[in-house]
Symmetry: C2
Subunit: 276 residues, 2 copies
């Protein structure tokens, strides 16, 4: 397991963590704090403009660990699925334009009114397969992210790391996985899945699971405030060959999003040093 | 797949569904509604008294599909774990006294302050192993219930059906599983796990997953109001040899618990006939 060192070389800040700020302020604040890597979201990117974002990221010599996010491949009809593919092609282009190391894919849940889990999963496979030639041409790796099963119905029917790896096996070159501790920590098959992911972990996201958790989407904790064995999972991920950033991604409507983002960055830095 | 028929032979009502009422009223209301099977919880049983409950259940010729619940084997120290075992032995005795067909076990989450998932899982294994001789002597099958991963931290670190079956494999005779659609519907390995569970499904619980879900514990839906493919899962469970009851278990603080329990029973009966 790596000693992350006293500098902030392997710390990345995901836009979700300091979401109250627009992307420009996020990048500038990270630079001021000595952070050298960020992970933007597409809404912030659209607001700032891709070209301006590219210049700003370059001016601050920021590594872009990933772009969040593409995906949402499931839909009630073929037209809806084509729209999703078109949007994902644009996401690939945006990721390439800002030099992101990968594009994170959140697969999508059940189409409205549907209970057909297997059918939706087939749509997810087919959607990524359709997107893949464009991503390969842009040399943009697709990071399939398993999400916590509590988001399966309306957000992501890829619910385990083994399932994401099954998709990678089926789809081949240009695909990999995003490992977010929040989504996978509970999985009894986590050790075997992480070992299996060797060479395919494209990005690693951290936060914490709070007890109690009061919202299925927006109540994530700062590292150290919950029950996730962050050191233990990082050890497994690094034993599987991952040597990249730890990307802090905290959705927190009632706590961290209500604080001064500069303070949030300082706490994230402190926790990165003490508990990650 | 069975035709459940027009009578209510395979419908069981779990006490959780009509929780505002004490057990006596629950049993009497079920009998009035033509329901022939119930699944009590231990708190209601304690309040009524085991012997009185036994007489009442017998007077109404009620099948007791299961007693909810034993488990909670994890604790910070050996004394805490011994206390849990003692309590589980009493739960076995209570289940035997009322003629329950099995005792449901909810394994337990992380002990307070702990992040040691593997250690807690070892405690769960050891706890059931310690309880098992008493359960075998009482001829009371132990139904290990995988719970939805969103309850992993504070309630149940058995989060998948395959993991529950691994425990059954390790522990042997006298163990089996409880399959609750709410807890397992999202699992990509569900078809293989249900097939593997052949001969070991001791009880089958139904309700529905609501979109959105507003609480991790107390926002379950009535069958038909959510996204779970109830017919599809029942078909798999029955193909694996299960021929018992469908036990309606709905924790619903803000909807069904606020209604007249007689109305809840009528809706459950209607949905049992139309969507289960």
């Amino acid at each position: 397991m790596r000693d992350l060192g006293n500098d902030l070389r392997w710390l990345a800040i995901n836009s979700a963590t300091i979401r109250p700020w627009p992307l420009r302020r996020q990048i500038e604040a990270c630079a001021r704090a000595g952070i050298t890597a960020v992970a933007p979201w597409r809404d912030g990117l659209a607001e700032l403009g891709v070209e301006r974002a590219r210049e700003l990221l370059q001016a601050h010599a920021m590594t872009v660990t990933c772009l969040c996010r593409g995906g949402m491949f499931t839909a009630s009809d073929a037209a809806g699925r084509r729209t999703a593919i078109d949007d994902n092609r644009r996401a690939v282009d945006e990721a390439a334009a800002i030099g992101a190391r990968c594009l994170v894919l959140v697969a999508g849940g059940l189409p409205p009114g549907s209970k057909d889990v297997a059918g939706a999963r087939a749509q997810i496979h087919d959607g990524i397969a359709t997107l893949l030639p464009h991503a390969r041409a842009a040399a943009m790796p697709l990071a399939i992210e398993p999400l916590h099963p509590m988001t399966a119905a309306d957000r992501c029917l890829v619910t385990t790391l083994h399932q994401a790896l099954d998709l990678c096996d089926a789809l081949g070159e240009g695909t990999g996985v995003a490992v977010d501790v929040y989504h996978v920590w509970w999985d009894p098959a986590l050790p075997s899945a992480i070992a299996r992911a060797r060479g395919r972990i494209l990005t690693y996201h951290i936060c914490d699971w709070l007890v109690p958790t009061t919202d299925l989407l927006l109540d994530r904790g700062m590292m150290g405030d919950g029950v996730i064995d962050l050191r233990g999972i990082r050890a497994m991920v690094e034993a599987a060959g991952y040597a990249g950033h730890c990307d802090v991604e905290i959705f927190s409507a009632n706590n961290w999003w209500k604080r001064d983002p500069d303070e949030v960055l300082q706490v994230a830095i402190e926790r990165y040093r003490s508990v990650v």
